[in-house]
Symmetry: none
Subunit: 501 residues, 2 copies
């Protein structure tokens, strides 16, 4: 390997080591850390982030990028070329963000999350307000450093869904909303009441089920952990140390089951990245939309799917017993696909979920642009919940305070969830076209065919390709709404015995 | 605060943040990490350690030390002055060790520990021999960088017990040995057989007991964690995030109980350091001997003490029931204070423990000085086990291969364990002189008087004072053998109804 390219790779590996260390500290903060550890944790995370940022934006990184570019001799297709191109773009962005601002963003995110936990618990939006205002101000200052974007929101969005614009997402979301509103109207009226899922199930029985299902998906104790947390997430410190989390609700077991399948979907992506991309920016995932496609696919298309319902019903019967003995797969399938406007995004069904995202996408743009103040946010939230989903929000804890994202400074993140659904729809259609008998495999509890196809087509590449390049290679085009909507209509039509067009 | 002193403090705070991050990664590795995470964890830890070291030895640190010294204007008693003096000494040492040697020491420690695990498992000293020889050679090269010490062993010792010399420790150990040998002879003949402690107790019952006892000591869920591990340890990431660990043996419950009290003693030190010393080298503990005094005091003087035996017996009866219902405090006290020469240091009683340390202290000096070759070590070990403790060593696995320290390059570490016992003896005598009715408090399960005194006199100062200064302030003199021996004679005399003089 050329000398400067090798030096660049080594420098980037050390930066990835620091980022991995920060991820360990964040995982610990969410799952293990005693509450009083928060203040010093914020300091440690701030310092790690600052040093990583300083090493990345250093002139030496720029010099190595120039020298490595020269060594490429015009080559554009190799991993080296892809690495240099990707890092060059990130470096051009990062060098324009002052180190102090980057550290303050990290510190405020950590402090904000602790404040959010307390505010949600106490249903006290006022206590959270200054933290959100500070996060928004920092986000605006961050966006102001990057003048190549149309507006501040596009600059923020680029960190989560690179190269995509709010205008492009709006076009997709308009199309999605136009499909979802009538679909919700038609299906929610016929929907199962979901009472089956609200039978009380002790956490220990739920743990047995979840361990078994994620084990079928590919969770492996030698390289994975599953822990409890308030707001579930997945992270990894390399493909051989994947950490997923879930939370347990004894009155609604799908929270843990489908949450764990969701995070395990994310984890399979991280675990599947080729080991020769470890400790490199190519060992990441290009966009959150792409990452989310994997969690959505496993949670919704497998976990809530017709094909898997027999296996799942059997495993539930074994793990829970009692009222769940001899559970009818059809009844489970209908209950898991209840369409019902509700308050909490992470508990929403697949049809209404998109509208939760559209609402957040709109509100966060308005907050960043200054069209909406933080003081006005709860009222705006509640009004839009009424308009889009027809429901009243009884408390801020059940409304505007339900999600961690804004407390952690993650603005521009929400739309990637809905993009994930769209990409999952595209991949789901493609894998069915390429793997004969896939539904039969899934119905037999054999998930390795699906996992293998995703690993081969998507996971192993890490961030070697952009999201656009990867989708072009795998499904032959850009992000599209149609396959997701077609999948949803087919499934809900099947569940409720009605033709949805 | 003077400008350069402030800059120095900020630089040191960032270094402490990196060290805290490394401690989180190490804690996670010992308690949580899936096995396949080890390889990348080593990379991340290596990078954190290297960056922290580079920041510390940088010329900028030296420049700030000079400027801060000038700003002190001859002041020597303030925290600023103490900080500058301490850091100056560490910087003068660290800057004389070549980076290549530091890296090789770390690498050899890691490789050596792996080799040790296998060698102990296979009882194969020959396989371990080249690793120990390499570690000794590196230790000699390290010591050779530091020419202010009398000999290589003093240079190594300084990293664990700063400013103390082998000659000083030899004098203390000669005195200790002269006291312990007849004491062991007199007590081991009358000793309890300890059968009471070998009743089988399920881990869950042990957990209830341990939670209750460490709670009485001051463990607090808002700022502490207790987790399981193979090799118990305590660590902290600041005084409000203390992590202790223990291991569980269903056939010998004192392993977990006294191990947890030991680590909780360490944890109370870390938790008690004044918050204004956080993120500073003054927020550490000056010496391992001082740190160990706290673990030994809580484990042995409280946990195995007469005063606490009634409370402990009651709590054991409640937690374990069965054979332990109505447990007699006297029987428990005698069993916990069995004196019995044995092979394994970490299982040794308080009287024989000191001889295990004297043996190691003598052998490691002879190894470093070249008076003893590694090839001769097993025979020398076994001969001294016979001379000092009167027992035959059946295998190297139960003898010279039992401890991890030498495999990890920790040479000069062992004597701090016995120094900890001596300091604990001094503090135990002093707190009884200063706190009226202390034994009555302890007998009533009220441990806050003891904890408060230790916090006020010892913990809150962190590394503000040297070990010598602190002992001068608190007990009026340097490390001494007499109080420990007097304590032990009183306790064992009490346990076995004999006057020990």
């Amino acid at each position: 390997m050329a000398q400067h390219t090798q030096q660049l790779r080594e420098r980037l590996a050390h930066i990835e080591d620091l980022n991995a260390a920060a991820s360990v500290l964040e995982w610990d903060q969410q799952t293990m850390m005693p509450t009083r550890g928060a203040e010093l944790r914020s300091e440690a995370l701030g310092t790690l982030t600052r040093i990583s940022h300083e090493m990345f934006i250093a002139a030496e990184t720029g010099r190595l990028l120039e020298a490595a570019t020269a060594e490429l001799n015009g080559d554009a297709g190799s991993d080296d070329a892809r690495l240099v191109k990707r890092v060059r773009r990130d470096w051009d962005k990062a060098t324009r963000v002052p180190t102090e601002l980057a550290a303050e963003l990290a510190r405020a995110a950590s402090v904000g999350q602790e404040a959010w936990v307390a505010a949600r618990r106490d249903d006290d939006f006022d206590a959270f307000k200054p933290h959100l205002e500070h996060n928004l101000e920092l986000a605006r200052r961050y966006a102001a450093c990057l003048d190549e974007f149309e507006g501040p929101y596009d600059a923020l969005l680029d960190d989560y869904q690179p190269r995509m614009t709010a205008a492009e997402i709006s076009a997709l979301f308009d199309q999605l909303k136009a499909e979802l509103v009538p679909l919700i109207a038609e299906t929610s009226a016929r929907s199962d009441d979901g009472a089956l899922l609200r039978e009380r199930v002790p956490t220990e029985a739920q743990r047995r089920l979840v361990d078994e299902i994620v084990g079928m998906m590919g969770f492996d104790r030698t390289g994975w952990r599953l822990d409890d947390t308030v707001h579930p997430f997945a992270t990894s410190f390399g493909p051989s140390d994947v950490r997923i989390t879930t939370r347990w609700d004894e009155d609604y077991f799908p929270t843990a089951l489908l949450g764990a399948m969701h995070e395990c979907g994310h984890g399979l992506y991280e675990a599947g990245i080729a080991t020769d991309l470890q400790r490199s920016p190519l060992g990441r995932v290009d966009s959150l939309g792409l990452h989310e496609s994997q969690s959505r696919l496993w949670e919704n298309m497998v976990g809530r799917g017709r094909a898997f319902s027999g296996v799942l019903a059997g495993r539930i019967s074994e793990a829970f017993g009692g009222r769940f003995a001899d559970l009818d797969p059809d009844a489970l399938f209908r209950a898991l696909n209840r369409v019902h406007p509700s308050l909490i995004r992470i508990e929403a069904d697949e049809a209404t979920y998109g509208l939760h995202i559209v609402l957040r996408f709109e509100l966060e743009q308005e907050l960043i642009d200054g069209r909406l103040s933080v003081a006005e946010l709860p009222e705006a939230w509640n009004a839009r919940m009424h308009d889009y989903l027809g429901i009243e929000v009884p408390s801020n804890a059940m409304g505007v305070l339900q999600d961690v994202h804004w407390s952690a400074g993650l603005i521009g993140y929400f739309p990637t969830y809905a993009l994930g659904n769209m990409i999952a729809g595209q991949l789901w259609a493609q894998v069915h076209a390429e793997v004969p008998g896939l539904d039969d495999q899934i119905a037999a509890g054999e998930l390795s065919g699906l996992r293998g196809w995703l690993g081969e087509k998507v996971h192993r590449h890490g961030a070697r390709y952009t999201t656009e390049e990867l989708l072009e290679r795998v499904v032959g085009g850009p992000i599209a709404v149609e396959p997701f909507v077609a999948y949803l209509k087919t499934k809900l039509g099947d569940a409720y015995g009605v033709a949805l067009t």
